[in-house]
């Protein structure tokens, strides 16, 4: 199965119904994407497929053939959102953080706090109470 993973042409030999999550973590060895609930409720496994955030635990590998997949590793380690999450303590245990950041990537530059809440409504965090996460995203958007 051929697709683009973080800008790199990738060819994976796996069952077409493999979860994209398992392919990314096990076949491609990119463990930044986390498994939380495994049922599309928590958003921890969020990746971008052709630019749209999706739960990779609910995506059959076959459906990303030819698609552009971006995981948290695709941001490198110097992205403004990553710095803001660290500086504002938007991460505590850290399991939800990659998914939160991937979901936040879809926000428009002029997004309001309400827009941020909607964009992140598919991502659960059990540590922070969300305020630090929203603050981090607001800060990351300031020039």
């Amino acid at each position: 199965m051929r697709f683009t993973l973080n800008g790199v042409a990738t060819n994976v030999d796996a069952h077409p119904m493999s979860r994209l999550l398992d392919v990314v973590r096990e076949e491609c060895q990119l463990t930044g994407t986390k498994e939380g609930c495994g049922e599309g409720e928590c958003g921890a496994c969020t990746v971008l497929v052709d630019g749209d955030p999706v739960c990779s635990c609910l995506v059959p590998l076959a459906q990303v053939e030819g698609a552009e997949v971006v995981t948290i590793e695709g941001l490198g380690d110097d992205h403004p959102l990553q710095h803001a999450f660290m500086n504002e303590v938007g991460a505590q245990c850290g399991i939800c953080t990659p998914g939160m950041i991937m979901a936040a990537l879809s926000l428009e530059p002029d997004a309001s706090i309400d827009d941020i809440k909607v964009a992140l409504s598919g991502n659960l965090c059990r540590c922070t109470g969300y305020s630090a996460i929203y603050r981090a995203i607001m800060k990351a958007r300031q020039p």
Binding site: H15, M17, G38, E39, G40, E41, V59, S121, G122
Partner: protein
Amino acid sequence: MRTAISGLDLRRATSVDDALRMLADEARTPIAGATDFYVALNFGTLAPRRFVDIWGIDDLRGIDVRHDVLVMGALTTYTDIIRSPLVAERLPMLIDAARQIGGPQIQNRGTIAGNVANGSPAADAVPVFAAADAVVVLRSIRQERRVPITQFYTAYRTSVMRADELIVAVEVPRVDGKQWFRKVGTRAAQAISKIVAAGVRGASPKFALGSVAPTVVRAYATERALASGTPIEQAALTLTREIAPIDDVRSTADYRGQVAQRLLRRFWSETN
């Protein structure tokens, strides 16, 4: 993950005809955004073993108005609905429902045909379709037929859809009256409904509920009561005779019975 995927067989359809031929050849379950199937896959409760992937069939996408009917392709996602000016103009209660289904990740993948075909009595889009007199377009290699959503389900997760049929579209005629939608769950996002309702306040009022019976319910007797000027309190009592809620993990029959009446009163006062 509790299901061994090695025993599963997936074939990918490249066109509607391709999919219909596969469905005619042998029993296969169509799979689109997979937001329900992959939950079952993870839980180890996935019953079907052979699938046909229809996600790549672009002919099943798109929202259009033809002959004054809103036609939504089977693979219309909730995100497509939220962004559609045609849906905003003609069926705004469907946008209200779409915004409350899962979160953005689910809205990007979940489809209207999946919501209909999955057959859950808690499906959030289905009460909207029922209140709007929507029609499900079913196609097989032999024929195409149109089934009103109110006649689509025959029992819990059971419908009139035949094994060789595919949902290709959902059609919604012009809706006459003020539209209303309300979902009651534990939180605004990512919650399965305890109870969900949609209504249309027009010359003949329409009211449909989810999570109160084995299938989505269109409350015809209640509608007739409202249309004939019956006081709302009395209409609400009629409603309790049209539903059969149960106790389950999300709520109780008693709660659902009381809230169903409250939703009817809210519908009536908020659309006045």
